[in-house]
Symmetry: C2
Subunit: 198 residues, 2 copies
DNA sequence: GTCTATACACTGATAGAC
DNA sequence: GTCTATCAGTGTATAGAC
């Protein structure tokens, strides 16, 4: 404790990252300009270069890294905090994803990545795999090992699961009468027990 | 038979639409420039304005309209051509979607639409609903009416289904050992019977 | 740390020759 | 129908004052 000055070290940097993440996540890399970000922060576009000398791409890369790392940590924690029931683990994972900025893997892979240097793109895609697909795939792997699931296609299932949860976020607002979490529960039960069960 | 000249009426216009659709679908509205499209066609950027006086936005809107209309027709046809089994209808729908440019509803709603005039955006989103969600929701509605499905959330299910099929297209290529159609079949069975069945 | 000013490239769009 | 030429607007990025 003590002075606030050292505590504010990098504070505006974090503010920039936070605002940029929000905008990038909303409209994608190409559509968001540095002026959009600066305007949202109430500063001038050129001022961003003091905190991010690497410019727009460096800012975007760091935003993605931070976001993906938070997803990996949060997902692993949510899953670990749930019971051994795959259903509980999937609900915890879905709840965390919906509480965060929902990752749009389609746009990321096919719109954003082609705009940045290939080395950066490859590393980010690898991070996305490790941070999003792998933790979810782990749930399906354990369910398979314990005989509860009959499909060994854990990566395929993880991608489908994340897309399903994200689709809740894409639905036209007029069709969302129930809360998001209830829709997630509905879809998770479809995933586990099928539409035809009971 | 006859002269080829009249038959070529609007031929280059169709060529432009085709190329533009491919590029827009690949990287999204903002990332694709008119020069990208012109280069791919081997013509000059200004020449596009002869066929599309409305410029980039008009071209994009017509590309989307054509694509969505083709999806509506194709989906309705594929579903009608299948048996009365929901499983067959879903497989036919998935097969058609994968045979086409896979629609990225997330990017469309959150990246592309904010870039164009709101009137155009609203009409296109309505078309997307009618052309993509509604035909699929019909399958789930009939399955529900016949007692085969126990969920009345047909729109939610349709959005989830399309996202799942699209997720096949987003999967990193190194994890696709089986053909796309086989992955679609796997996921459809999960959708209908659940992971825990059998 | 933030500002102003500006360089430079790119993009959409228009005018007019052929 | 396609071209060249050109313009205004916008976007990233840099230099330097404060």
């Amino acid at each position: 404790m003590g002075t606030t000055a050292p505590a504010q070290m990098g504070e505006s940097r974090e503010r920039i990252l936070h605002t940029a993440e929000h905008l990038f996540n909303e409209r994608g890399y190409a559509s968001v300009t540095l002026r959009d970000i600066a305007d949202a922060l109430g500063i001038r576009q050129a001022s961003l270069y003091y905190h991010f000398p690497g410019g727009k791409e460096a800012l975007f890369v760091e935003v993605c890294e931070k976001s993906l790392d938070r997803h990996r940590t949060g997902l692993e924690e949510a899953i670990r905090g749930a019971s051994s029931e795959p259903r509980d683990q999937l609900r915890a994972a879905a709840c965390f994803i919906l509480s965060q900025s929902v990752p749009d893997m389609g746009r990321m892979a096919h719109s954003d990545m082609p705009e940045i240097a290939e080395e950066h793109a490859q590393r980010l895609m690898q991070m996305a795999f490790d941070s999003l697909l792998r933790p979810i795939a782990g749930i399906f792997q354990r369910a398979y090992d314990s005989g509860l699931s009959h499909s060994p296609e854990t990566i395929l299932l993880a991608g489908a699961f994340i897309s399903v949860i994200a689709s809740i976020h894409h639905l036209p607002a007029q069709f969302t009468r129930q809360p998001r979490s209830a829709m997630a529960d509905t879809l998770i039960d479809v995933f586990l027990y099928g539409l035809t069960s009971r």
